[in-house]
Amino acid sequence: MNTGLAQAAVISLVYTLLIFLVAWFAHHRKKIGRSIAGNPYIYTLCIAVYCTSWTFYGSVGKAATTGIDFLMVYLGPSLAAFSWFFLLRRIIRISKEHNITSIADFISLRYGKSIWLGALITLIAIFGIMPYIALQIKAVSTSFYLISGLQDKTIHIPHGSSDLPLPTGLLLALTLSIFSVIFGARRLISSERHEGLMAAVAFESLVKLVSMFGVGIFVTYYLFDGFADIFTRFGNAHPADFARIFTLSSSTGEGATIPSLTTLFMSTAAIMLLPRQFHVMVIENSDERHVNTAMWLFPTYMFLINLFVMPIALGGILITGSRAGADFFVINLPLITGHNGIAMLAFLGGLSAAAGMVMVESVAISTMLLNHIFMPFIVHLTPQSWFPYLLINLKRLGIFLVIFLGYFYYRNVGESYMLVNMGMNSFAASCQFMPAMVGALYWRRGNRYGAITGTLLGFIIWFYTLLLPSFSKSGWLGSSTLEQGPFGIGLLKPTALFGLSGMDIWSHSLFWSMLFNISAYIICSIILPQNEKERDQVRKFIGVFEFERRQTQHAATKRLSKPVTITQFVTLMTKFIGESDAERAISGYLGGRQQHAEVNVSEFELPNLKRFTEKTLAGSVGAAAAGAIVDSFLSDMGSRMESVYDIFSTVRTSLDQSREALFVRLKASEIINRTLDLQIIMDDLLNLLLKEFQLDVAIIQLSDDNNMLSVKSYQGSNRHPINKHHWFMESSPYFQMVQFDRNVHFVNDTRLATGTIPLDRTIAEGIVSFAHIPILREGQPSLGIVSVFSKTIPGLFTEEFISLLTSLAGQLAQAVTIVREIDARDKERIQKEQALLENARVTRDMEIAQQIQISLLPDKAPELMGIEMAGRCMPAAHVGGDYYDFFLRDDHTIDLLIADVSGHSVGAALIMAEVRTLLRPQINTAHSASAILQSLNSQLYDDLTRAELFITMFYCKYSSATGRLSYANAGHNHPLISRRGEKRCIELDAEGLILGVRPSVMFEELQCELYKGDVLLFYTDGLNEAVNQEGELFGTERICTHLATVSHLPARAIIDSFYKTVTDFSGTDILQDDISLVVLKIL
């Protein structure tokens, strides 16, 4: 006995460790990114968690007692597999989309995230699953006694003097709880896949298949001689039983096929609706395509595992001689025939079947428990930093709770029931989800009230007609209620409600609960309306394939009344799912987008962010709770979701242009093209905006050249003059922002606007929303701002409206640019005209100055006996600085001078005039040339220095009486004498400094004799410095040569020929410098 116990215990332990290793290995593989669980075969094996110890032990029991209809439990799911192609795939798609965590989450999400519905479904699941888990515990503990040879229900461990009784059921419950916690509740996020757990489950599914197959082959081909042999021998030994087992309950008479149909119906529903099936098929699905394989592979699995059930059952009856204990034929047959190895294999198979189911079920239900029972309360608390720990531990607690509820049921009720019958209770419970579930996917009008009422009624009837009797059967409740109905009212008898008798209790319960469930669901859904939240979800659930595109458009029709930063959302998420998960989630959301977390998100982005936060939280706490959390967070922030005022009606002509928007654009371009008067354009445009969009005030400001904004147009109701106390000026920080970043800035609700910019007077004016739009063309600086204000509609500025306003502002910018360009062109033209006028005036002045200057020069040379003189000045600019003069002292003495004031300006001309004025008095004195220069220098020095000018001057006196020429020179070009018979010219040179360099200068005075025929040429530097095109100077040499050739000509002709020669030489009529020539010819 003890050896059997030890052996069984050790093998159980080793096996548990093996499963643990498998789970750990899968978990590890996932962590390093090489998942082994993400393939259709593992997926199928996980779905096979459907086959529990009910299948493993119970089926044989059922086959041995009621016969072939045990198969119905597996034919149902096989049939259901046909529907997976359209049903399961749709459920998976929706669940992935919304981070669904459980079946309760799924159904409550569809009915407007109803908290009540979620809680109700969770409750049903917990109660409904109780018998099912009890079944597993019962099966495993019973099989454990069998294999270890114990007759007692507890293991006695020697403990000091007394024995410590240790019930195996409790031990099993504890082990399974711990295992489930380790692999099912490591992390809070329940919408993620639990690869470790799934690998363990898949492994167990494999073990139970192998084990069942092994036992089946052992019985069929070792103990007997194949299928036909067993059937024939059984038919011969028990002909009555044979007929009963292989026909559908013909022994119980009329209406006997009802139980098999009930079973078929319930199992078809259960494969989709049991929380653990939903969990493995939907939540743990990694790829939609895996469903394709599972659709045929899962029925095949069931086919194989059930193939030998009948032979084992019949063989068991043949060997043991009775149907008693048929539930454990699988383990008993090898034991009886002495094949302990096979028995151990069977035991492990049963253990696997039970363990897999309990783990998945408890994880699935604890998730529901956390999300739909605990969360609604937690949501009302202020989030704390320790919330993630609280939540994860609540989830772990949930696992223990679920398993120990099952244990409790097993201890109290389990003994009196067959395995299969216990399981049927759970199936009937899960059927209560069916109307709401099917309606969720296929009936648009199905609503929350219908779902809650129907499910609740179904649950109550199930509880009353199935669970209650099971308690009372085991002596918990007085049997009188069961026999006569409560308070003796026969109509309310739990097993024959409203007098419906003659049915088995499951068909009876199923009929009434489904009747009430479905009718309540339909009636309430038809009578009562759906709320807005639900309608939203209906679109997502029922239109999940058809309306995906439109859905994204509809998404933007709500807005948050007060902006919330990304950081605030992250903080919120951190409080529920922990920092690392929150960070990972948000970085996944932002993805490539470079958005700084501190910055306020654009108003149009916010609803998306909110949805994302909800979805992320939903992955951990369920959709209903997540919605509540985010909503309460927003209301704490003073923000809420509100409907957007749809300024455009719903008629959409093109992609996203409403007819109104098109109309306004058209009108605007009409206004702009009608005139070039900017004022009219601006006024009309603002009035158009006011009229079409129910705005109250609109203002256009344009910036001038110094970037100062000034109001150019102001339209709207009760206007007051704009000054710095006007309420409009409160918005000037916005103007600066708009001018700076060239973006639209708007406030959709002034009462909720952040306090950084005070808007008291604006609010007092009754403004509830406003927007400032830069007037600019793409890629160009802003020309000004259009400001629009509304007193009636908060939330007026939708993305669509803003984009319309922006485009209108762009059109206005075009107009402003054009008008400004035209203005600028006009201005330029006027400037040019003025410049021309000015120029003409100056020219005229210069001409006058020139005439005056020329008039200052002697108009003709004085006549003196014996000499001929001529002088002429050819100024280069209008006014020159050359000067020459003759002063006739007496009949035979003449003073002659030539001078050149540096520069060719009016200044030079003025100095020249001064020189002339100063010289005039000198002629009456008898001063010598040098003395005249000397006094001239001292008198002119100050003026010349001040004007920064110099004068070169040659002064000479000629007396025709003596024929002598006395002269002095102040740095002037040396005059030339051409004398007959001499080839070279004589240069008249005398020492002397330029006038205006030093205040006091001594000049050398020289004399020379002039002879008949001598020609003297006085000239200024314009002559010898004249340049031809090659850059060659005219030079003294040429002057001299030319003078010699023309010396026979009269003086005036000599001058003419010089001018002609110089212009010929330089090749142009325009002189570079003034040229003054004076010729003195001795006759």
């Binding site: 072939i68 198969l71 119905m72 597996y74 034919l75 096989s78 049939l79 597999a81 046909f82 529907s83 192609f85 359209f86 299928f227 036909a228 042999d229 059937f231 024939t232 038919g235 044979f242 007929a243 087992i245 292989f246 026909t247 559908l248 013909s250 096929t257 098999s260 149909l261 078929l264 395509r289 394709n292 394989t293 659709m295 045929w296 029925p299 095949t300 086919f303 193939l307 009948m310």
Partner: protein, 85 residues
């Protein structure tokens, strides 16, 4: 020729309606009138009639689903191939 026929058959099976039709057909086969036909304690080759009906019927239905999924797999692959360029 048989391959061509099979291919054609698979393509027909892709229709969503055919899934529903087979689903409903399965429910009918599993229900009273049909079951009543085999609801006799007779044997064929030593195997009970009802047992044979259910087991063979089950195997056939699994095979039908298998054929379905082949069709689905085909169309899935085709879609992926055409999407690649």
């Amino acid at each position: 020729m048989p391959a061509k026929l099979g291919h054609k058959l698979l393509r027909r099976l892709q229709l969503r309606e055919s899934w529903i039709i087979f689903f409903i057909m399965g429910i009918i086969m599993m229900n009273f009138p049909f079951l009543q036909i085999f609801n006799k304690p007779d044997t064929i080759f030593g195997l009970p009639l009802m047992f044979l009906y259910l087991v063979v019927g089950w195997a056939v239905s699994i095979f039908v689903i298998y054929l379905f999924t082949l069709g689905v797999g085909n169309s899935d692959e085709k879609r992926r191939e055409t999407r690649q360029p």
